[in-house]
């Protein structure tokens, strides 16, 4: 048990890079304090935003169902969503922490039972899942509580259910991943499997999103609700049959002050704990085995062809080009960077594109849509296209994590005879190349869907480029000012990097806010080109000019 607890603690520290206790005699640094405060505020902002989104969606569900006397279904919905949400997030987290680094191979050499090792990792990930679940469920409990004033036990059962629901979701994630990785060992290609697993996870997350959107849409339709939510053949009964934990949660919360509630909750606990218990009992050994050889890769021996190989590969290029090529390779060859970065540009349009292609005619043929379509083709479409281009062009997190990702190599890079400015501008060029690619994808897709004219497409692409460039440069400034340099798992430089969160929110804010203003003010094409093209372009130049000097100063100050 002691081993298990200290391993869990170690994993938690390692995942989240918890600050170590300050060394004795360490200087008080107002900058560090400010940074901590800033990150604290950011966390609050993100939590607040999530709370708002969760709260709003729960509210919408409640308001759609209450008039029909079906508000109890809100509770079922909450249980289902808490499960699916933790499944999607947990799957990706479990995958990206499946093998963290060679430290874990050392664990295998220590007198640690595979069961302790795996259980500790499971527990560490579970804790963050539980936090998300509790948070989501709490927003629903509060809304339901205010509206319906249930028995106080309602909150206690709700809290317990929130803690229990992520357990089977995480167990399922490992149930899929452990055999997959074991198989990968046989195939000797874990990187590819990691990539495939990541795609599965992302598709799950997106699928969840789509499902959720459709559900919210359908809730506007009382006829649909009446047909599907009530009656013997209702969705509810089907769900109850297909996913007991959700059903049991619903039962416990529907009549909190009853023996039925207690029994339901006991049942829920039994069902939820059974999953992890079985996975830990049954798969720990396999898990430990699958860790071995994770860093294996195929060494190609050159033999007699070595000299020919050197002649072909060792070719002089301009230094800057070489810097950009290094950025590109370092990012695209790390599966977790690739999946959370550039791959988004391809994945999002593929999924949305399929929907558009499938539904285009039905969508555009709807008489209600005719007016909207006319508006879109009359200039508003260019704005939508531009905004989707901006979003794809800046969702890659390339620049806003670029210095953090280089943390391990920084001591070496700083010894090379290149100016900090050139080194960092190579990162910007990397980001801009993908911004252009993302803009083309985003604009192209919307242009195709809305049948935009060439003029609109050109204006939208120009604007997307200008704004994407600005956002990427802003991200670079951020990561230069406050890089995340100490991490164990490369994913920490990317996913747990506050800069990436700020950048995504910045992009959404700019795209959303700009779009809102453009629509409400009924902007002309000329004004659009000015505000969405020229102004960001000018801002880009204004931010770019002082950047190299700033980068040089910051890099010189970094102690690695």
């Amino acid at each position: 048990m002691k081993v298990f607890l200290s391993l869990t603690g170690l994993y938690l520290k390692s995942f989240y890079n918890l600050p170590a206790k300050a060394a004795k005699g360490a200087k008080f640094d107002p900058k560090t304090a400010l940074k901590t405060l800033g990150i604290g505020l950011l966390v609050l902002l993100v939590v607040g935003q999530m709370g708002f989104i969760f709260g709003a969606s729960n509210m919408a569900t409640y308001e759609a169902l209450a008039p029909l006397g079906l508000q109890g279904i809100v509770l079922l919905n909450v249980a289902v969503i808490a499960t699916v949400l933790t499944l999607a997030i947990g799957f990706l987290t479990a995958l990206s922490t499946y093998f963290m680094n060679d430290m874990e191979l050392q664990f295998l050499a220590m007198p640690i039972k595979p069961r302790e090792l795996f259980a500790a990792k499971f527990a560490a990930i579970y804790l963050s899942e539980a936090a998300i679940s509790v948070f989501f469920v709490a927003t629903a409990l509060v809304i339901f509580g205010i509206k319906e004033a249930p028995h106080p036990l309602f909150y206690i059962w709700g809290f317990k259910a929130a803690l229990l629901l992520p357990l089977p979701a995480l167990a399922i994630s490992y149930l899929i991943q452990i055999p997959l990785m074991g198989f990968a060992r046989f195939l000797k290609n874990k990187q590819a499997i990691l990539l495939i697993g990541g795609v599965i996870g992302l598709v799950m997350a997106l699928g969840f999103n789509i499902y959720y959107q459709t559900m919210l849409g359908r809730l506007q339709d009382p006829a649909w609700i009446a047909a599907n939510m009530a009656g013997p053949d209702a969705l509810l009964t089907k769900l109850g049959r297909s996913y007991p934990p959700a059903y049991l949660t619903w039962r416990a919360l529907s009549a909190p002050a009853s023996w039925d509630a207690v029994l339901s909750l006991l049942g829920l606990a039994a069902v939820c704990v059974a999953g992890p218990a079985l996975v830990i009992l049954g798969l720990s050994g396999r898990y430990a085995k699958s860790l071995v050889g994770f860093n294996e890769s195929h060494i190609k021996k050159l033999g007699a062809g070595a000299d020919a190989f050197l002649r072909a590969k060792l070719v002089k290029r301009p230094a800057f080009l070489s810097l950009v090529a290094r950025e590109l390779r370092m990012m695209n060859r790390e599966p977790m960077y690739m999946l959370n970065g550039p791959f988004i540009i391809v994945l999002m349009p593929v999924i949305l594109g399929i929907m558009v292609v499938v539904q285009r005619d039905a969508f555009l043929g709807d008489p209600d849509m005719a007016g909207l379509l006319a508006m879109m083709q009359g200039g508003a479409g260019a704005i939508v296209a531009a905004l989707s281009g901006v979003f794809l062009g800046s969702a890659t997190s390339i620049t806003c994590t670029s210095l953090s990702r280089d943390a391990k190599a920084l001591p070496y890079l700083k010894s090379l005879p290149i100016s900090a400015g050139r080194y960092m501008l190579a990162k910007l060029v990397h980001g801009l190349a993908f911004a252009a690619f993302g803009s083309a994808m985003g604009v192209g897709l919307v242009a195709y869907a809305l049948r935009l004219g060439l003029g609109d497409i050109a204006a939208a692409f120009g604007a997307a480029l200008a704004m994407g460039a600005l956002l990427n440069l802003g991200g670079l400034w951020l990561d230069t000012a406050n890089p995340r340099l100490r991490w164990d798992n490369p994913i920490a430089a990317m996913k747990q990097n506050p800069n990436a969160v700020i950048a995504i929110f910045g992009a959404m804010g700019l795209a959303g806010g700009g779009g809102y203003l453009a629509f409400t003010t009924g902007m002309s094409t000329g004004a659009f080109a000015l505000w969405f093209g020229l102004v960001p372009a000018a801002a880009f130049v204004a931010l770019l000019l002082p950047y190299p000097r700033y980068a040089a100063r910051r890099l010189a100050a970094i102690e690695v």
């Binding site: 050159l302 000299d307 290029r317 790390e334 190599a409 100016s419």
Partner: protein, 247 residues
């Protein structure tokens, strides 16, 4: 030539001086050994010397070029082997060498010839098509050494270069150091093994807790030693005195 004068460095996150008023001059054609126990400040000094860390005080000149005033020109004159070869795991070895050669502006013929020579010498030529992540620790170390020589630097700076090398490779590396010194180039390396320093250095410095406790020629160090004591023992005594003075 490498000139360090009055280098001090305190890390932002700590209160102790990692390097404290350190001055060293290494002349052309010299192999200079930098000795000290773990945590003495060897790596910190080398990082200040290669421009990786900004020293709080003091100046660094490489072949007379001031590192702070003209960092690029100064860095061009250095070949650096870091103490941590865990970098760029995702790059293929040949890509990495090509990258380094591009940064230093090495021509096609030179980079091929030098890669063939040094990678061949260390027996990693066969593996150059593989990704660095698949290399053993020693192989990575050899790759770093190869990369550091691609631009034929006048000043070769190595941080614990023997760690992880097999005897034959360590021998080859020492031979390379001697060869470069004989050609009038400067070699500066750190180690905590007295024996290595004894066999290789023209001059050496011993540091402890950021301060030099001995600097001079090997002969001077040998003169310090009593009739029976070994250099190893002397080294330990010097370092111990340092501890006593600080405590």
């Amino acid at each position: 030539m490498i000139e360090l004068s009055g280098i001090s460095k305190t890390y932002a996150k700590s209160a102790v001086k990692a390097v404290d008023g350190l001055s060293v001059t290494v002349k052309d054609g010299e192999i200079f050994g930098f000795l000290g126990p773990n945590g003495a400040g060897k790596t910190t000094t080398i990082k200040a010397l290669t421009g990786v860390l900004k020293a709080d005080e003091g100046s660094v000149r490489i072949d007379g070029v001031d590192l702070t005033a003209e960092p690029i020109a100064a860095k061009r004159r250095i070949g650096y082997v870091t103490d941590n070869p865990e970098l760029f795991a995702r790059l293929k070895a040949a890509e990495y060498l090509n990258f380094v050669a591009d940064i230093y502006g090495v021509g096609d013929a030179d980079r091929r010839e030098r890669t063939a020579r040094y990678a061949g010498l260390f027996g990693i030529k066969d593996a150059l098509a593989a990704s660095i992540g698949s290399f053993s620790h020693g192989m990575k170390q050899k790759l770093l050494v190869t990369a550091s020589l691609l631009h034929d630097p006048a000043n070769w700076i190595l941080d614990e270069p023997m760690v992880g090398l097999d005897p034959k490779s360590a021998f080859n590396l020492k031979e390379l150091m001697r060869e470069r010194a004989a050609a009038g180039k400067t070699v500066f390396f750190s180690t905590h093994v007295m024996e290595v320093a004894e066999k290789l250095c023209d001059r050496l410095a011993i540091i402890n807790r950021g301060k030099i406790v001995f600097i001079g020629a090997l002969a001077e160090l040998k003169a310090l030693r009593g009739a029976d004591g070994s250099l190893e023992k002397l080294f330990l005594e010097l370092v111990d005195e340092g501890e006593g003075a600080q405590a």
